[in-house]
Amino acid sequence: MKWEPVIGIEAHVELKTASKMFCGCSVTFGEEPNTNVCPTCLGLPGALPVPNSRALEAITQIGLALHCQIAPQSVFHRKNYFYADLPKNYQVSQFDSPIAIDGWLEIDVESVTERIRIERAHMEEDTGKSLHQGDGGRIHSATATWLDFNRSGVPLVEIVSRPDLRSAAAARTYAQDLRSVVAELDVSDARMEEGSIRFDANVSVRPQGEEGLGTKVEIKNMNSFRSLERAIASEIARQIEVLGSGGTVSQETRHWDEQLGATHSMRTKEGSSDYRYFAEPDLLPLRFERETIERLRSGLPELPAERRHRFEAMGVDASTARTLAGADPELRQVFTDAIAEGAEPGTTAHWITGEVTAAIRKSPAFRIDGARLAELLTMIDDGKLSSSGAKSVLSELGVTSAGAATVAARLDVLQVSDTATIESAVREVLAAQPESANRYRAGEEKVLGFLVGQVMKATGGKADPKLVNEILRRELA
């Protein structure tokens, strides 16, 4: 039987607002434990929450960027469960009245654009962090647990997709593209490794062609896009194996173990959890004015998907356009400036996402502006630089303010495109290699390569290979 995976993704995005969701404590990462806390985010008796209006704007921006409807009125609920790092033993979250509903995000799956529906985006507060001492890193095997409440109350947006994803790779693309949207809005650091964006996956499989959904399993603890894809792939394989051998998949939460490369069951709770949601009486219902929504909508930046389409329309190939659309704003500015200086968009995009990116990765101090990059690329087009020569010039350009021509001259990598010089070198080579010349004339085409090499050698590697080729053929004709 052929099985079809069905995947939905829940993303948690920590907002980088100046202060926490319901108190004035600042939102920071990596501070001394329990230094960014107050009665409210510690859940001390008597303390009350006051909503952060900037966070509410941020979730509205996210909702709008994901083509969601923004509810005119929305309600906070208490989600009740006991956990040591949840200071009130309830989380202020949203239940049946989220801020944003019914949106979508378009992603490319194997070169086909698919629209992944977004069920909702809601606002909640983050919990504290438990640091378990002892084996296993889990509370039940720990000898002691330390609690850090710096994260407690940090505004968190939960974005829930519909189960529209059909492969681990598609899920990864969705997660990456969602991250790009959030990063573009500049509302979150959106760093998976720091936990400022986290993804959980709901995975089930069903026989190909069937409409109903199989039993879903929630997988957690993926710390990179790669592990997200691996975890989902591994879970799909596990479920297919279980079902294929006549077993049943049980509804549960499974933990991804990066080392083992497999998911394992977390302690199963008896029955399904009942969070006893009820409207948070400490907060008034939220109201979103139409003008506010429209102001935020008109202030949305160009999103990665839109930008990618714009690049493609300029003649950049799809894969490069995607990379460039998600690149640093500084690099995208170099692209824009280089185009303005007359550089060809396709080549420019290739160079920026290839050589320039590699150079920056190698040396973070590397800087190049659009004008000098355009000059460099034009020199290639004009045959003044070979592509390997251009690469040497580029690495030099990044650490100097000189132009490409100056650097190329200094490095002595300018191509010789003076016909007379090349012709004399060609004649010298042919005179020295009569046998090869004859073999070529007898129809042995591949000898040409050898002869080109000899001419290049004679010119110290600086001759324009295109010209060498041309002249050789003419002389041998």
């Binding site: 859940g43 008796p45 008597g46 303390a47 009350l48 009130k88 009820f278």
Partner: protein, 493 residues
Amino acid sequence: MSDLADLSIAAAGEGMANGAFSAGELLEAVLKRASLTEADLHCYLTIDHDGARGSAHESEVRRREGTPEGPLDGIPIAVKDNFCTRGLQTTCGSQILAGYRPPYDATAVARLRRAGAVIVGKTNLDEFAMGSSTENSGFGPSRNPWDRERVPGGSSGGSAAAVAAGSALGAYGSDTGGSIRQPASLCGVVGFKPTYGLVSRYGLVAFSSSFDQIGPLAKSVDDALTLFEAVAGHDPRDATSYPGPAPVARPELARGAKGVRIGLVKELAGEGYEPAVAEATTKIVEVLGAEGADVVEVSLPTFATALSAYYLIAPAEASANLARFDGVRYGLRLPGDTVEDMMGRTRAEGFGPEVTRRILLGTYALSAGYYDAFYGQAQRVRSKLIAELAEVFGRVDALVSPASPTTAFELGAKTQDPLSMYLTDVCTIPANLSGIPAISIPVATDERGLPIGFQVMAPALGEPMLFRVAAAVERLAGFSARPELATAGVARP
């Protein structure tokens, strides 16, 4: 001269202003009264001798320099022990918080300090304000100054008893279902629950967030208003705090009841109401009419179901509000094999039976499959009550009723029967469910000499009308009885 501890706030303010006595002398009189009555009455869980003396001294300095803060400067007052007081033990009457010292002041407490009030200490209450007699206190009950075999009411029983006994000139309590007005009624003092949102709840340890409201207990309507004014007004730390300025009621105090349309609530009478209470209510209604008020009987059928709705919503909210007391960060912690075990044992040991009962009730009412039948239905009753009141307040300016169906009952009389205890709040709960202001004024005594309270209710933000009628009731009732404090050495006024 009479004992300073028996003065009203207004009189004490005057006495300090004209130099008849100092804030220090006033405080010492109150502390002395407390030292004589506490063993009997147990109004306080903590008396802050040093802090109070320090505040009294600062007040004296301000007066000497001619810069007193206002009518509460130098006035010894008490606050219920569910108000957070920085560095001063705040237990909520619960063993689970024994020894807990908050790192911050409740907004009401901070405003009192700024007003120059001298905080004598923290008064006893039913655990987490759940109860109507203070018998649910984890530190032993308070007793009624009028008869020490009887309860002072609750949950703000310690505050009511302290004001009645003179161990504070005024006090603050919290009223979730009647917890200010019912003990005020049973102790013969004035108790006022403001419109929901007029006094910040920041730093008031939550019982039921959508009902909880801070308010004063005092010897007179005038004093109650003074205490209210000191703490009322918007607080940016409380999202449910009323954003506008608090209504101004003081000019209404002397206007009298002539021409005011008053509705006597039909549903708050009959079975369960002691004859003396019914008589006293009738009499006040008569004299209000004689003064020129237009009194009619009005029916609010939903009042009959208010109590049931309240006992679903309040425990539901409480079940979440009290979840934080888990032994992890503060308060009591019992050892356990796992973290859940530790939490479970701590909560089982730390909470008394009534709190446990309400947490269980509330948890049940919110559970999947029961939510709509219980919590959801109760919220619908609440909406219906609000609509009914809006309609009635189109016809009358204020509503009146007894504040409690009975006078003070004996300790232990209702502890075995929670429902009978819940029924003592039948008159007061509708104001909490609807958020409207309500006040209890002592108007008479029963055949045993126990005080009887009369309740006035007004529409939301209708404090001016409420105080106008309350002041008229106070004047017309002419209630001047004071408890016979049995304790030797207490001078009678």
